[in-house]
């Protein structure tokens, strides 16, 4: 299990380094005199903010489902690489979710938060001038919590996990009158990973005292079926695009006899900017 964690951590680190390398070469269209430009690659940067509905269950804290609103953001960057004749893109996604939910009787409140980072590659098929499809994989890490103030020795549940996801999506371009419009869709499904979980009746006090009992669990769709999808519409203007759409994010697990789900449906709105990545060859 430790080897798996190290492997996944290395993959995450590699993905982060790849992103950092990209940013260092981003000149945003301006050429420096002492450099030559050998490759021009488009970079798509989008920032979305969302508001929506959240439904949460964590039987470690309560057998009841909590529901309420959630606020979220999703920052993504996608650029084409030079691999496979320029058909492979690198994507990074940073997602943050904050939720405020209540139990069905409205006598207790839960506060939740989650930060997820995913990075990976997609292969693109340009099926026509208008339609392209993509498929690939992402490596991700997830950190979060759910807190119910009135609970005694189990007031909160911490969440941490790393996983590898299968990812697929597509784009379709068309025009409404003279306005270019693009529909984007992407779905991510974690297929393998590992996650932290306390044992069924194990308190965080016990864990803090050094107690360990299957607290790192192997996760797969059989015990942690999760799914995230994003359907957006881009209205393309001169310098940027207005992006709006729907994000569905379903996180579930059933490990150590503890059932958890965190179901979010959000309306997202934000903008997309198209930049150019230049390869810098200094003389």
């Amino acid at each position: 299990m430790i080897k798996r964690i190290i492997l996944l951590s290395n993959l995450c680190l590699f993905a982060l380094m790849a992103v950092a390398q990209d940013y260092s070469t981003l000149i945003n269209g301006k050429e420096k005199k002492s450099e030559t430009i050998s490759v021009l690659r488009p970079l798509q940067v989008s920032t979305l903010f969302g508001v929506g509905f959240s439904n949460q269950l964590d039987t470690y804290l309560s057998p009841m489902e909590y529901s309420g609103f959630q606020l979220s953001f999703l920052a993504s960057r996608e650029r084409m690489t030079r691999w496979a004749d320029g058909n492979i893109s690198f994507q990074s996604l940073l997602q943050g979710v904050f939720s405020h939910t209540k139990n069905p009787a409205h006598t207790a409140t839960a506060w939740g938060g989650r930060l997820a980072y995913d990075a990976g590659w997609h292969y693109h098929w340009q099926l026509s001038d208008r339609l392209s499809l993509k498929a690939g994989g992402l490596v991700g890490a997830d950190l979060g919590f759910l807190y119910i103030a009135r609970n005694s020795n189990n007031p909160a549940q911490g969440r941490f996990g790393v996983d590898i996801s299968a990812s697929a999506g597509g784009k379709y371009r068309f025009k409404i009158k003279k306005l270019p419009v693009q529909i984007n869709y992407q779905a991510d499904l974690p297929v393998i990973g590992c996650m932290f979980s306390p044992q069924f009746g194990q308190s965080y006090y016990d864990i803090s005292q050094g107690s360990r009992d299957h607290n790192v669990c192997f996760s797969h769709p059989g015990n942690a079926l999760c799914f995230r999808q994003l359907l957006t519409f881009d209205l393309e203007f001169k310098r940027a695009s207005l992006r709006f759409g729907y994000m569905g994010d379903i996180r579930q697990s059933h490990v150590n006899s503890i059932r958890m789900h965190d179901i979010n449906h959000s309306f997202m709105i934000g903008y997309v900017r198209y930049l150019k990545v230049l390869k810098r060859n200094e003389r």
């Binding site: 439904n55 269950l57 804290l61 309560s62 057998p63 009841m64 489902e65 529901s67 139990n103 069905p104 009787a105 409205h106 006598t107 207790a108 119910i148 009135r150 609970n151 005694s152 020795n153 189990n154 007031p155 068309f174 529909i183 869709y185 044992q199 069924f200 009746g201 194990q202 308190s203 006090y205 016990d206 005292q209 107690s211 009992d213 799914f227 999808q229 359907l231 729907y246 569905g248 379903i250 150590n256 006899s257 059932r259 789900h261 179901i263 449906h265």
Partner: protein, 337 residues
């Protein structure tokens, strides 16, 4: 094209609507009783032990109390029935909290003599006692330190403890009076106990549930107290107890029982050796229950209390004369060591 787009939308949104929630919300009296019964059945850590010790059957209790329900009963009536059901467990850590009342069974202390007169204790402390966080202390005329700690909820720092032990270092012994201390933070238990040993001491064991079955427990894990790096008490210490020593205080008595030069004097403690967790009912009431048990150094249950090394009780006749017979007994014992 338009049709295709609509089809795509329907497919995507359909995928999401598949996953909404897992359970249907039912707030009827029977649903609440079922939920409460299931919480205890799956998560309560003393069920088999209580069934054996108290001669109860949790399955029979379900039938007994289900018969008392009717769909039109008021919330107050439902509260009463559910509290009576939980009362069968005789556990001070098992409660139902509502905005109206706290459902409880405090027979662990209510059914026994209190063995404490607070006014009398205050007379021993007088008014010019020292107060370091939650610790009240003074030196009695026969050069014995008298320390009162009323709640483990009151935070104590290493600095407080060091200063207190330093200022009492010339005393012949110490009476640590924790009568009516109903518990609190386990960190304070460990902190205080660590000043009474020079070596790492095995004080007990703990476990936790690993599943919903009555006997799904993790292997026992040893608990130790390591000596404090600060000032450590090297003289006799008598810990005064009564039935109101509960929960974290019960754990403290368990720990102190293993310390050298420490004598437990007074009545049995109240017990409460399960670390409480919380859950809730469909009606919105919070439920608290013992979730993980702890045991003494001999791996024995201490849920129903810990026996003192020297049993002793408060003499009410002497109390009328302004004498706390338990404190006096402790003074006599220290003076004869």
């Amino acid at each position: 094209m338009k049709d295709k787009l609509i089809l795509l939308l329907v497919l995507v949104l359909g995928l999401c609507s598949c996953q909404k929630g897992e359970t249907e919300y039912d707030d009827s009296p029977q649903a609440n009783l079922n939920a409460l019964w299931t919480i205890i059945d799956q998560q309560y850590c003393f069920l088999d032990y209580k069934e054996k010790e108290l001669g109860i059957s949790w399955a029979d209790i379900y039938i007994k109390y289900s018969a008392r329900l009717n769909p039109k009963m008021s919330r107050t009536q439902l509260f009463e029935v559910l509290c009576q059901m939980l009362g069968e467990l005789k556990d001070g850590h098992v409660n139902i909290s509502t905005s109206l009342d706290l459902g409880r069974n405090w027979s662990w202390k209510d059914d026994y003599p209190q063995n404490l007169d607070e006014c009398l204790r205050n007379e021993y402390l007088q008014t010019d006692y020292n107060l370091a966080s939650g610790l009240k202390y003074r030196i009695l005329p026969d050069n014995i330190a008298y320390v009162v700690y009323e709640s483990f909820q009151d935070a104590i720092g290493e600095g407080n403890l060091d200063d207190m032990f330093l200022s009492l270092r010339m005393c012949n012994g110490m009476i640590l009076d924790i009568r009516n201390n109903g518990g609190g933070n386990l960190d304070n238990v460990e902190k205080l106990a660590s000043h009474f040993t020079n070596e790492k001491v095995l004080v007990g064991y703990r476990s936790h549930k690993t599943g919903t079955g009555h006997n799904d427990f993790s292997p026992l894990e040893a608990e130790y107290i390591s000596p404090s790096k600060g000032v450590r008490w090297q003289k006799p210490c008598i810990v005064l107890t009564n039935r109101s020593c509960y929960s974290a205080t019960n754990t403290f008595v368990r720990d102190m029982k293993e310390m050298p030069q420490v004598i437990i004097m007074g009545d049995y403690t109240g017990g409460g050796s399960g670390l409480p967790f919380s859950s809730e009912l469909p009606i919105g009431w919070s439920v608290r229950f013992s979730a993980s048990p702890s045991f003494d150094a001999q791996k024995q249950q201490i849920e129903f209390g810990i026996a003192p090394d020297i049993p002793c009780s408060l003499d009410t006749e002497k109390a009328k004369q302004g004498i706390d017979s338990m404190i006096e007994e402790a003074r006599k014992k220290i003076n004869h060591i």
